[in-house]
């Protein structure tokens, strides 16, 4: 399996990254990409930009651990995680999670799993800029709940009839 984990300040091309994963692989039947984009508002308030702070060494290690866990749970052929840090403007890409597998079920589930964990366990913190000034974004209970659903043993996979 090919794994790519990158933390970077610069924007990146989602389509090019996805194409790189599939290139030359005839065993890949499903490629799921999730792209996180900076919204122009946070809790209904307009923002002019957000800044992502991160803990570089731990972020790499933590993402790598979750990619390993995803590999153990699903038959994956490739995983790409790219997360930006620094100042990001509304409309710009923040994060890409792409998962490749022979069939869609594993690719969808692994992408969802990785995003839920990135939100709540990867050491990144968002600060938004509004007309009132800068403010740290509060963690959301809904994100914590989304990550919690993956704890415990993975459900038995149903064999297609």
């Amino acid at each position: 399996m090919t794994t790519l984990i990158r933390l970077q300040r610069e924007p990146f091309d989602v389509a090019a990254e996805a194409a790189k994963m599939a290139h030359g692989h005839t065993d890949i039947g499903a490629l799921v990409t999730f792209t996180g984009i900076c919204r122009g508002d946070e809790d209904g308030e307009a923002i002019s930009a957000l800044t992502l702070e991160h803990y570089p060494s731990m972020a790499e290690a933590e993402i790598a651990r979750h990619v390993e866990e995803a590999r153990a749970r699903w038959p994956l052929l490739g995983v790409t995680v790219i997360h930006r840090y620094g100042r990001i403007m509304p409309g710009e890409v923040i994060v890409l999670v792409a998962t490749a597998s022979s069939h869609r079920e594993a690719a969808f589930a692994a992408a969802s799993f990785l995003m839920d964990y990135l939100k709540t366990r990867a050491p990144f913190w968002k600060e938004v800029e509004t007309v009132q000034g800068a403010a740290w974004v509060d963690a959301k209970a809904v994100d914590e709940a989304a990550a919690e659903r993956w704890s415990g043993a993975p459900p038995e996979r149903e064999e297609p009839k």
Binding site: L52, E62, H83
Partner: protein
């Protein structure tokens, strides 16, 4: 040991990292936070809601009852908001 601070914990302390040598008897992450909070007003403000602050020892998430013996790097930060 080296301590690292992120996001509003870092802002309240006005520093990103420091080296400390906690006194004997400070055995866990929770005890370390309580000891830090007692240093001065700035630390007291940063750690006033110690239950909210997360910690990592040598790049792994830990709970407040985790032992700090042998740790080379301990980080304190708010709940994460990446992705």
């Amino acid at each position: 040991m080296k301590l690292l601070y992120f996001a509003w914990v870092r802002e309240r302390l006005g520093k990103t990292e420091e080296r400390i040598d906690p006194p004997a008897g400070i055995a866990t992450v929770g005890e370390l936070m309580a000891w830090l909070a007692g240093r001065d007003e700035q630390y007291a403000h940063a750690f006033e809601n110690a239950g909210v602050i997360r910690a990592a020892i040598d790049h792994r998430h830990v709970r407040s009852d985790a032992a700090i013996a042998g740790a080379s790097e301990i980080a304190f930060f708010p709940p994460m908001t990446g992705g």
